[in-house]
Symmetry: C2
C-alpha cells in the first residue's frame, strides 16, 4: 500500500478550492498518470487524514467523489482500491453495481417548443442579465457589432476557458475556444473540419436525434455504438469493415439513457483514438447538472495527445434561445477549424457575446447555475419520489443523479410512441425513448423533463400520466386475456 501522505501533496488552506477538492484532484491526477497503480489500495481515510493534518470527513468526501467518477472502488470491509482501468466488465462499475428498483413517472405542461431537458425560463435572471446587457451596450457598443475573430469575442473565450478550468477540469488557452451557434453548429463544424463525406462516424445508440440527421446529411456512414451501463462501447475492429474516423460521445451523462462513463472506458477511448488516428467529440451538453458530488472532469481533460474536441453549450445552463455554445480545439487543429469557418461561414451571433463574458466574470452566471441546480435537484427528487409512489407498476429507472430529464423504461407491452401521443393529447409532454435509437432493438421508455416545472405542476402531471398509463395497461391486459 503506497503511503499517499509521503507524496508531496500541496493542499492549500487559502485556496478557493475546498481541501477535499484539492485532495480529490491530486489523487485523480496520480491515478491517471500511472503513479498509483491499478488494484493498489488507498490508505484508510483515518490514517491519511492524520498524516495530512486534515479532518477525516475531508478524505471521505474526496474518496466518495473518486468512487462516483469510477477511479476507485470500495470493497466491502477492505477499504478503497484503484480500479482496473482496462477492466471493461460493466458489473464492475461501482456506479452501476446496484440498479435502482423499478419506480414510477409523470410529465408536465407542454407548450410548443418545449422538450424534456429544457431549463425553466421562469428562473432566468432577467434583471441581472438585462442590466448587464444594457451596461455592456453602453460602455462597449462596438463590441456588439465589430467582430475581430471568426472564433468569437476574445473576452468571452477567456471567460469560457476560466469556467472550464474551474468546472470541468480542462486546462486550455482562450485561443482554443471557438464560439458556435449552439451544439449542433459545433458538431457540424467538427464533422466539416475532421471528416470527409463517406467517412464512418460512430454514434451512440440511442443518441440525440439531430446528430444522426446532421451526420447523414453530410454524407457520413453511421456506425452505431451500443450503450451499456458504462456508456458507448468501443468500436471493435473485428466485426466491422471500416474504422470510424470519429466518435461522438456523451460521457458525462449519456443522452438519453443517463449514466456517466467511468474513467477506465474514457482512457480506453483515448487509446482507441490514438491507435486508429480517430477523433473523439465529447458533447458535454449538461455536465454542470450533477446533483451529487461535483461535476466529473471532462473526458477531454484526460486527453494527452490532442484527439478530443470538447463541446459545451449555454442552452442548458443559461437559455436555449441565446444560441451560443462553444467547442475546444486542440492547438494543432485551430488552423483547420479556421479554414472551415472561412469555407462555410460563421453562424454564432456576436451581439450578446461580450455581455455574456461580463455576466460570467461578474459571478452572476455562477450564482445562477448554483441556484437553478438546487431547484432542479428538488424538482427531480420530487419526480423520482412520485414515480416510486404512483407508477412503479409501469416504469423502471436508474438514478444517475445528473441531468435535466429522467429516462424511464416501460413495463412490457406498453408502446412509448403511443403513450407519448396520448400524453400530448392530454397536454402533457413526454418523448418516446425508442425514437432515439438508430438501429437494432429499441427500448421503450419515456423521457420526462422536470426542470421547467414547479413542484405543483409536477404533482398534477404525475397524476394525469399515471392515470393514462393505468388505462393503457388495462387495455393491454384485456387484449392479452382475449387472445
Amino acid at each position: 500500500m503506497p503511503n499517499l501522505a509521503s507524496i508531496a501533496f500541496t493542499l492549500q488552506r487559502d485556496s478557493k478550492d475546498p481541501l477535499f477538492v484539492q485532495l480529490c484532484d491530486q489523487i485523480r491526477q496520480r491515478i491517471v498518470s500511472g503513479w498509483l497503480l491499478q488494484n493498489s489500495q488507498l490508505p484508510p481515510s483515518r490514517r491519511l487524514a492524520t498524516d495530512l493534518g486534515i479532518s477525516r470527513s475531508t478524505v471521505v468526501t474526496a474518496y466518495e467523489q473518486l468512487v462516483a467518477e469510477g477511479y476507485i472502488e470500495g470493497r466491502t470491509g477492505a477499504g478503497f482500491y484503484v480500479r482496473e482501468l482496462a477492466d471493461l466488465d460493466p458489473q464492475d462499475s461501482a456506479r452501476n453495481a446496484a440498479p435502482s428498483s423499478p419506480i414510477s413517472s409523470s410529465i408536465p405542461d407542454a407548450t410548443p417548443a418545449l422538450h424534456p431537458g429544457y431549463p425553466d425560463n421562469r428562473l432566468f435572471p432577467y434583471r441581472q442579465w438585462t442590466r448587464c446587457l444594457a451596461r455592456t451596450a453602453r460602455l462597449t457598443p462596438e463590441a456588439l457589432i465589430v467582430g475581430k475573430s471568426p472564433f468569437g469575442d476574445l473576452p468571452l473565450r477567456q471567460s469560457i476557458a476560466a469556467y472550464l478550468a474551474d468546472w470541468r477540469g480542462l486546462d486550455i488557452q482562450p485561443e482554443q475556444v471557438m464560439i458556435t451557434a449552439g451544439s449542433v453548429d459545433a458538431l457540424e463544424n467538427c464533422i466539416r473540419s475532421l471528416a470527409m463525406p463517406g467517412d464512418v462516424i460512430g454514434l451512440e445508440n440511442p443518441c440525440y436525434r439531430p446528430l444522426r440527421n446532421i451526420a447523414a446529411n453530410q454524407g457520413m456512414r453511421i456506425e452505431w455504438l451500443s450503450v451499456d451501463a458504462e456508456g458507448a462501447e468501443i468500436p471493435s475492429e473485428s466485426r466491422r469493415t471500416a474504422t470510424p474516423k470519429m466518435v461522438i460521445l456523451t460521457p458525462s451523462h449519456q443522452f438519453p439513457l443517463g449514466g456517466a462513463m467511468p474513467v477506465n472506458r474514457r482512457l480506453e477511448y483515448q487509446q482507441w483514438a490514438n491507435a486508429n488516428d480517430a477523433w473523439i467529440i465529447e458533447d458535454d451538453y449538461d455536465g454542470e447538472f450533477r446533483y451529487a458530488g461535483r461535476p466529473i472532469p471532462a473526458l477531454a481533460s484526460l486527453d494527452t495527445s490532442g484527439r478530443t474536441i470538447y463541446i459545451g453549450t449555454f442552452s442548458k445552463v443559461f437559455a436555449v434561445s441565446l444560441r451560443l455554445g462553444y467547442l475546444i480545439m486542440p492547438p494543432p487543429l485551430i488552423a483547420r477549424f479556421a479554414d472551415t469557418l472561412a469555407k462555410f461561414g460563421v453562424k454564432a451571433a456576436l451581439p450578446c457575446q461580450r455581455a455574456l463574458a461580463n455576466f460570467i466574470d461578474s459571478g452572476d452566471f455562477y450564482r445562477h447555475i448554483r441556484r437553478v441546480r438546487r431547484i432542479y435537484a428538488e424538482r427531480r427528487r420530487l419526480l423520482l419520489d412520485l414515480l416510486q409512489q404512483k407508477m412503479s407498476h409501469f416504469v423502471a429507472l436508474q438514478d444517475h443523479q445528473a441531468g435535466m430529464q429522467v429516462t424511464v423504461t416501460l413495463a412490457p407491452g406498453l408502446d412509448d410512441r403511443e403513450i407519448c401521443a396520448a400524453a400530448g393529447a392530454r397536454g402533457l409532454l413526454a418523448a418516446p425513448l425508442s425514437s432515439y435509437y438508430g438501429a437494432g432493438e429499441a427500448s421503450h421508455g419515456l423521457l420526462l423533463g422536470f426542470c421547467p416545472y414547479s413542484e405543483d405542476e409536477i404533482r398534477d402531471y404525475v397524476a394525469v400520466l399515471s392515470e393514462l398509463l393505468e388505462a393503457r395497461q388495462r387495455r393491454v391486459q384485456s387484449l392479452q386475456s382475449v387472445f
Copy 2:
C-alpha cells in the same frame, strides 16, 4: 396602341409612394399579368402625362425605371415598347446594350475578417441601436429569452414582411418568414427542406464561395450555370442528364459579376421551375443597394405558383456580426421547413430579434439604409472615377449601378491570385475573381470593396494598387520580350 390612360390607374397624391413609383408599379403589374402585350407600344410620355393630369417628368421617370428593370425598351425615335419576354438575346437588354469602356481600379485597408462587400462599421448607428436594445431589454425582457416559434420572433417577422412589401415588391404574410442565422443558414435550410443528397443543384458560375462548399458538403451534385449579360442561363434539357431539383440565383445583382437579371429571364425561370417541378432560391444579398432608380422588385414577386424561396440578410444593410437573415416560404412549404428545424435545430439567436423589430418599426432602420446608401454611392463614384483615371490600362469594368463591391476584369497576362497575394502583402484587400468559378474557364479579375473605406482611404489605396499593378505588368512585358 392601348390607351393607358383609359385603364383605371389609381394614382394617389397623398400616398407615401411618389407618383412615379405608383405609375411604374401599375404598368409593371399590367405587363406581368399579360394585360399589356409584348411588343405593344407605350403612349408617348407627353400624352400620358396630359391624360393622367401629372407632370411629364413623372412619366419619364417611371418609364426609365421600367427600362432599367427590363420590362420595356426604348427604340430610337420610336418611343417605348413592352419587351418580348421570351426574347433571350442578351444584346437586346437595354441595361447591357452599352458595355462601359475599360477603366481602372484600387482597394483599401485590410483588417482581418474584412472582405470586399462588407459594410462600414464606422457608419453603424451605435447610439440609436444600443438605446433601442436597452429599451427593449427593459420593457420586454422575456422576449430576449423565451422563443415562441422555431421560425423566430413574430414582431420581427411582421416587420420583415412590411419591409419586403415596401422595398422588394413582395406580398407576403409574417407567417411565411423564417428568421435564420444569416444567408448560409437560410441556404442550408432550403437544401435540407427541398432536396435529397444526390439531387442536382444549379449554381451560378461564378458564385458565392460558401454556396458550393455547402452544396457539396450536403451531397448535392452541382450543375454549373454559365452567367451571361442577363445573369445565369436557364438549365437546358438537351445537354444534361439530370434536371436540377433547385437553382440558386442572385437576380438583383449577380455575385460576383454584377448585373441584374431582366424580367424576361426571370419569367423564363419561373416557367422552367413549373415545368420541371424545381425550386428557385433567390439570394437577394444586397438588393437594397441600387444607386440609380429604386430597387428592382424581387424575382419572388413574379412567382405565381409558389416555387421561389426568397432569402434576405441583415449582414449587408445592418451588421454582419448580427448573424440574422431570413427566408420567405411559399405557404405550402411552411410545414416542411418546420420539420427541417425540428430535425436539424434552430441556429438563429433570439436576443436581438425583438430589438431589431423595434428598430425597423421606429424608422431608424430605414434612415440608416438611406444614409449609408448615399455615402456608399459617393464612395463608389470616387472608386470608379479613380479606376478610370489611373488604372484603365490594367482593368475593365461594367457599371451596374448597384452592390457593395466593384468587380473589374484584368488585362491579359495578369494573374488575379498573384495580384491579390501581393496586395495582401502591402496591407490591401482584394479578392481574386477566378476563385469564385466552380468549373470551366475562369475570368481573371478583382473584387474591390468600397463601402468600408473613407474617400481618403480609397485615394490612398488606389495609388498603392495601381503602383503594384504597374510593376506587375512591367514584369509580364519584360518576360514576354525575353521569351
